[in-house]
């Protein structure tokens, strides 16, 4: 019992540290937000988002902008630990290494959810569609969990490489495809108002990959930060 509270406290401490650092600078969140909006505007011109095509591509456009913005956040979250030797300090702390992973992952998740919470209403207003449906929000949360779960692990690896910023998207995008496909297809189905029977297989696929992408990093994160 005592150990589990220690674990939880360590996770919260790391989450709090990341949030506090971000609240003082607000560099990352503003960069992610502006970038996500820029991607949506770029799509507006690239795809000619008139009302007819919009219905079929909305979920794709949203997810691509979330994922691009998320990469910025993931790259940054590990690079800042690396640059000033903060990671060594974290590793010296007498806590389970997976607590570090969970803390970083939750911080990344919070950043991503904040970006999504701002982008969704803006998109709704700009394109005059109501995106605030419970099903879509569920997909956004589940998709973000899967993305951030494996993204935090791979970002920790990419931060150690010579080609760090370049390497993360190359490692992350192909691995994340199952989550992305399920999230895009599921969101599109919820937006189109499909019956639960049509959506359930995507929700199940997404849940399965969320569990996998949380469980595997938990087991292997030790080996990634080990010196």
């Amino acid at each position: 019992m005592k150990e589990s509270t220690g674990f939880g406290r360590a996770v919260l401490a790391i989450l709090w540290k990341d949030l506090a650092a971000e609240l003082r600078g607000k560099e990352l969140l503003s960069a992610m937000l502006v970038f996500a909006l820029l991607v949506i505007l770029a799509f507006n011109f690239a795809l000619d988002l008139d009302p007819k095509t919009r219905a079929s591509v909305t979920s794709g456009v949203l997810w691509v902008s979330f994922i691009f913005a998320g990469t910025l956040g993931l790259n940054r979250s590990m690079a800042t630990e690396q640059d000033r030797g903060c990671l060594d300090g974290l590793l010296l702390a007498p806590v389970d290494r997976s607590a570090i992973y969970f803390g970083k992952m939750l911080a990344n998740l919070v950043f991503m959810l904040i970006v999504e919470a701002v982008v969704l209403p803006i998109y709704s207003a700009l394109y005059n569609v109501n995106l605030f449906r419970p099903g879509l929000l569920l997909m956004v949360v589940l998709g973000s969990v899967g993305y951030v779960a494996v993204g935090t692990l791979l970002a920790a690896m990419a931060a150690q490489a010579r080609t760090r910023d370049m390497l993360l998207p190359l490692l992350l995008f192909p691995v994340i495809i199952p989550v992305l496909i399920a999230a895009v297809k599921g969101s599109a189905a919820f937006l189109a108002g499909s019956a639960w029977a049509d959506v359930s297989s995507w929700v199940n696929l997404l849940l399965a990959y969320d569990v996998l992408f949380l469980a595997v990093p938990l087991m292997v994160f030790d080996f990634v930060v080990e010196e």
């Binding site: 494996v150 692990l153 791979l154 690896m157 990419a158 150690q160 490489a161 010579r162 080609t163 760090r164 390497l167 190359l170 490692l171 192909p174 691995v175 495809i177 199952p178 496909i181 297989s201 696929l205 990959y209 996998l212 992408f213 595997v216 990093p217 292997v220 080996f223 990634v224 080990e226």
Partner: protein, 226 residues
């Protein structure tokens, strides 16, 4: 270091013999498919290549897990060998699929779920080599590669089941209930699967041996320089 192992030589001979027999079987014994004609024969090697590709990635993920537990260099060498072979055979699978698709689907390539997921799988393992290249410290390189081999393999099941999850035009030949093949075709199919599995074992052994020799050479060179 060591002499050429006798068992490996035997395996080489067996592989060459099996490949020759499989080729003869495919062209002489297997019946001509009624609607598709001769081009259907590419199927025997297409499926076998993709099977070896998947097998390679599975072996790589297992070797990665064992490496993380044990930390001996052999498992890292085996993992690289398995990924390399898996990658080559997946590419052979894509090319042979294209050869079949040109007359049957009337196009070399189509954006079908099966084709796209296989290509993404290939990209994962190309990224695997980019990751290896990007890290200088050998111990860390091996650990990260092992982690990525495990994480990457998680998306392989999706590739395999994509045909059932999505609306796909790719044929499903083997289902749990029946195989849509005539008895003769099935014999040839099973034989070519077996042949390619032996070929995989042979190549894996060679490539692992090469990797170990290269590592040995590196230590000798270091010793000379010191």
């Amino acid at each position: 270091m060591q002499k050429y192992p006798k068992t490996l030589l035997l395996l080489d001979l067996a592989t060459v013999l099996l490949l020759a027999v499989a080729t003869v079987l495919v062209f002489a014994y297997a019946p001509l498919e009624r609607t598709m004609g001769a081009v259907q024969k590419v199927f025997y090697f297409h499926v076998a290549s993709n099977w070896v590709g998947m097998l390679g990635f599975l072996v790589a993920a297992v070797a990665g897990a064992v490496y993380l537990v044990k930390g001996t260099r052999f498992w890292d060498v085996l993992e690289v060998a398995a990924v390399e072979i898996g990658l080559v055979f997946s590419l052979i699978g894509i090319v042979t699929g294209s050869i079949w698709a040109r007359p049957i689907w009337n196009t070399w390539w189509t954006w079908d779920a099966r084709l796209v997921t296989v290509t993404i799988m290939v990209l994962i393992y190309i990224a695997y080599f980019l990751l290896r290249q990007g890290i200088d410290d050998p111990g860390r390189r091996a650990r990260y590669a092992a982690v990525y081999a495990i994480v990457g393999f998680l998306s392989v099941p999706l590739t395999f089941f994509s045909i059932r999850l999505f609306q796909s035009i790719h044929p499903v030949v083997i289902t749990s209930t029946k195989a849509q093949l005539s008895p003769r075709m099935k014999t040839v199919f099973m034989f070519s699967l077996f042949t390619y599995t032996v070929l995989f074992a042979d190549l894996l052994w060679h490539r692992t041996r090469l990797g170990q020799l290269a590592a040995h050479l590196e230590t000798l060179r270091q010793k000379m320089l010191d």
